[in-house]
């Protein structure tokens, strides 16, 4: 594993290169010179007013204490060297000062014992300033930056990428984010037991406690004071060990193509592919693992431009570092979490037993089933077992089968539903109403349509019924919450639409909507039948439509096909064209369906007003005839549950037909391509309301 390109000396001597640190030293030296001059000018003698032994001992003792305090903990040899160095500077400055003063004042030159040791004041005030530029030389950055985190405090990973360049050998930069920030008190004043690491969770902690020995944990969650001290988890130990490790060579490699989109396009000379190939590690950006580790729980891992800047060949960059940083959000790039997590040690993600729930998990009801004791469940328990030849009740549905069984006494003027065919391979069908022995069981063949239905069950609780008509196979899935006859009524309407001579082609799907329910009808192609799903209107409706279309497509069934056995019906009566300018302005309210032209027609059979919004070049009379017949079918069909909207979808085109007014006295229809179907539905509904008013 290669190391990052930043040389070790660069980070460890960063303070030496800091001009502000040297400015502070220079300013102190100037003040020192002025002070010494003033003392001399005012005839204040520089000779010590304290015994000589004090002049020898006091300065190094003070310097030693300062070094020990500032760089704690510091190895003894480093402490001794630093203290001796300051003492040496102190002596040198004192001797030089006395010498310079002696040039101006001959008395000093002849004063025995004044030059060594020099007077401790005033240079003792300046020498400690040398620790500012020398701090990275005196001690590794980690020793003076990584303050021991307070128990229960949380690191602030956002600070990571803002600091100096981070290299594996530069723990100072990595240590920066571990600097704790004040924790939000949660009303637990006393420090609790050892905080536990929560994977992916970084929360506030109890009130700040006095500093304790450094703990490298950065992700903590509050622990109640009454909770007994728990042994550190495997995850905690792994994280602690990784963070505490002084070995900084662990790196993660991010494919450049995963982050290339975050860089401004004009940042590079040449293509991104050329740039990726020219990276220090071709095709990848290399980031210290520690840097990602301390941010991982936040769900976002960012690195500053400085971290990766020198991995880019300078000749391929069209701007400098400052320019790049200005163009990046917060001068950072976001690393793809999947790449980061993939390169983290697996032990970091070991699962741990969760907290004990305050209730019995078995008490949680199944959200997708009716609550126990509901009429549906009670009826199911009391009902006899359903005949296996008629209906297949899925495991996800516990609705009573008899509720969904077609009532043979009800008239069926649109389609004749024949005796259902068996589709469950485990319950072979028997002809003649399920009477045993009436006919030999047919060969068991698994119906692929059942797979389509089963995939819908996670969305809503559905009951599956398969029915066969001459030339038509209906696969019906109905929610227990909708009327049992709704699907059949909707199928009648849809069949009349599919067979209309002026129906739009192709038709992928037809959805009928009412205030509370919706029926989604999806033709599955020649010979494959029609998939009918009746559900309450809910957040699942869009997904039900989508899954039905996808399943029809996945099955290799030609979308938009209709069954072939039913008559096409008779052409509609000629429509009268109304000239009503009041509707002209409404076309602008249908911007979700694209540029449309408004037309007003009147159905001579019932006087119903048809307000059509069609693209230029459309056959207005044909669309009007289809709309009029569809509205009539919608109004005449029994048990429609208040269905008032029909949405015909073919490819990207939609035709939205909406009844307006009491009894459907008017109809609004819009046809066009839309990328905002939800808005189109709402706009048609709004126009229907305006037409009615």
């Amino acid at each position: 594993m290669s190391r990052t390109p930043v040389p070790p000396s660069r980070a460890s001597a960063a303070s030496l290169a800091n001009p502000w640190a040297w400015c502070a030293v220079g300013a102190g030296l100037a003040i020192y010179a002025v002070l010494a001059t003033i003392l001399v000018q005012w005839w204040v003698r520089l000779e010590p007013s304290v015994p000589g032994i004090v002049s020898f001992v006091a300065p190094p003792a003070l310097y030693g204490a300062l070094v020990a305090f500032w760089f704690k903990p510091l190895p003894m040899p480093r402490w001794a060297i630093a203290t001796a160095g300051l003492w040496g500077a102190h002596l040198a400055l004192g001797i030089i000062t006395v010498g310079l003063v002696g040039l101006a004042d001959g008395e000093y030159r002849h004063m025995p014992g004044l030059a060594f040791p020099p007077p401790p004041v005033p240079q003792i005030l300046w020498v400690p300033l040398l620790l500012i530029p020398l701090r990275d030389v005196v001690a590794p950055p980690a020793a003076h930056r990584r303050r021991p985190p307070v128990r229960g405090e949380v690191a602030k990973p956002q600070a990571l990428a803002v600091g100096a360049p981070i290299a594996p050998s530069a723990p100072a930069a990595l240590g920066a984010p571990i600097v704790p920030r004040p924790a939000a008190p949660l009303g637990v004043p006393a420090p609790g037991p050892r905080p536990r690491v929560g994977r992916g969770v970084a929360t506030a902690s109890p009130a700040p406690a006095p500093p304790v020995e450094r703990q490298p944990s950065v992700l903590v969650r509050p622990a109640p004071a009454r909770e007994p001290a728990a042994a550190p988890s495997v995850t905690q130990l792994a994280l602690d060990r990784m963070l505490a490790s002084e070995h900084e060579a662990a790196l993660i490699r991010i494919p450049f193509e995963r982050v290339a989109g975050q860089f401004p396009p004009d940042m590079f000379r040449g293509s991104r592919a050329d740039l990726a190939a020219a990276l220090r590690e071709p095709g990848h950006l290399v980031v210290p693992q520690r840097l990602a580790l301390v941010q991982l729980a936040e769900g976002v891992v960012r690195v500053g431009w400085e971290v990766v800047a020198d991995q880019f060949p300078r000749d391929l960059l069209a701007m400098g570092d400052e320019g790049v940083k200005r163009r990046l959000p917060d001068a950072q790039i976001v690393l793809p979490l999947d790449e980061v997590v993939r390169q983290m040690p697996g032990e970091l993600f070991t699962s741990e037993p969760g907290p004990e729930l305050p209730f019995d998990a078995e008490d949680i009801p199944d959200l997708f089933l009716p609550p126990a004791g509901s009429p549906a469940v009670a009826a199911e328990l009391l009902a006899p077992p359903p005949p296996p030849r008629e209906t297949v009740v899925t495991p996800a549905s516990r609705e009573v089968e008899s509720r969904r069984r077609p009532d043979p006494r009800k008239p069926s003027d649109a389609v004749t539903i024949a005796e259902p065919a068996p589709i469950d391979p485990v319950t072979p069908a028997r002809a003649g109403g399920g009477q045993a022995g009436a006919a030999p069981a047919p060969e068991v063949v698994r119906d692929p349509r059942r797979d389509l239905a089963v995939r819908l069950f996670p969305l809503v609780p559905l009951q599956l019924t398969s029915e066969e008509a001459p030339g038509l196979s209906l696969l019906t899935l109905a929610s227990p919450r909708v009327d049992g006859d709704l699907a059949t009524a909707a199928v009648r309407i849809v069949l009349s639409a599919l067979n209309h001579p002026h129906a739009p082609r192709p038709i992928d799907q037809i959805t009928l909507r009412g205030p509370d329910t919706a029926v989604v009808v999806t033709p599955l192609g020649h010979g494959a039948g029609v998939l009918v799903v009746a559900v309450p209107r809910s957040a699942s409706l869009g997904l039900v439509e989508l899954v039905c279309r996808r399943q029809a497509g996945d099955a290799g069934l030609p979308a938009g096909a209709t069954h072939a056995a039913t008559d096409r019906g008779t052409p509609s009566e000629p429509l009268e064209v109304e000239r009503d300018a009041r509707f002209t302005g409404l076309t602008s309210a249908l911007d979700a369906v694209g540029p449309l032209r408004g037309s007003t027609l009147r159905d001579p059979r019932d006087g119903r007003l048809l307000q059509l919004f069609l693209p230029d070049g459309s056959d207005v009379r044909a669309a009007g005839a289809f709309t009029a017949d569809l509205a009539r079918a919608l109004l005449r069909a029994p048990q429609t549950g208040g269905l008032d909207t029909v949405i015909v979808r073919g490819g990207e085109h939609r035709m939205i037909v909406r009844l307006a007014g009491a009894g459907g006295g008017a109809v609004v229809a819009a046809v066009g391509e839309t990328r905002a179907p939800g808005l189109a539905h709402r706009q048609v509904a709004e126009i229907a309301g305006a037409v009615t008013s």
């Binding site: 769900g299 809910s538 990328r675």
Partner: protein
């Protein structure tokens, strides 16, 4: 019928402002699509070019939020603020709006959406009014 038929505004926020707001979100690095979705999972407005049909993220986000919100209510948790869905082809973040709709962001990776999460707070009130 009256003589004064006029387009009915769908919300207190102008559609242009909704699109501008979505456009700002879609322009964030790693965000392919920003969509305003109604309570049934249909797109009300969208900006961006998702890899597939924008109806997919819209439908999934609506169903997902409804299912999670039921669980959240059952467990007595606080209001659902965001859902992050990561899958093999990318990620999606969904923010329920107070008015019942949803803001769905589709991106190439969850990290990029995490960055976008910072910018969403200012967009939510505007988009919520737009519904």
């Amino acid at each position: 019928m009256t003589d004064g038929l006029a387009p009915v505004p769908l919300g207190s926020t102008a559609p242009e402002e909704v699109h501008r707001c979505l456009g700002r979100l879609a322009a964030l690095p790693g965000v392919a699509l920003a969509a305003l979705v109604d309570a049934e999972g249909f797109v009300l407005a969208s900006v961006g070019t998702p890899p597939g049909d924008p109806a997919g993220p819209a439908a999934v986000s609506s169903w997902l939020v409804e299912a999670l919100d039921a669980t959240r209510e059952l467990l007595g948790l606080g209001a659902l603020r965001a859902v992050l869905l990561e899958h093999g082809d990318g990620a999606m973040m969904v923010n329920p709006l107070r008015s019942g709709g949803l803001l769905a962001l589709v991106g190439s990776d969850p990290g990029a959406l995490g960055e976008a999460r910072r910018r969403i707070d200012e967009a939510l009130p505007i988009l919520g009014r737009g519904l």
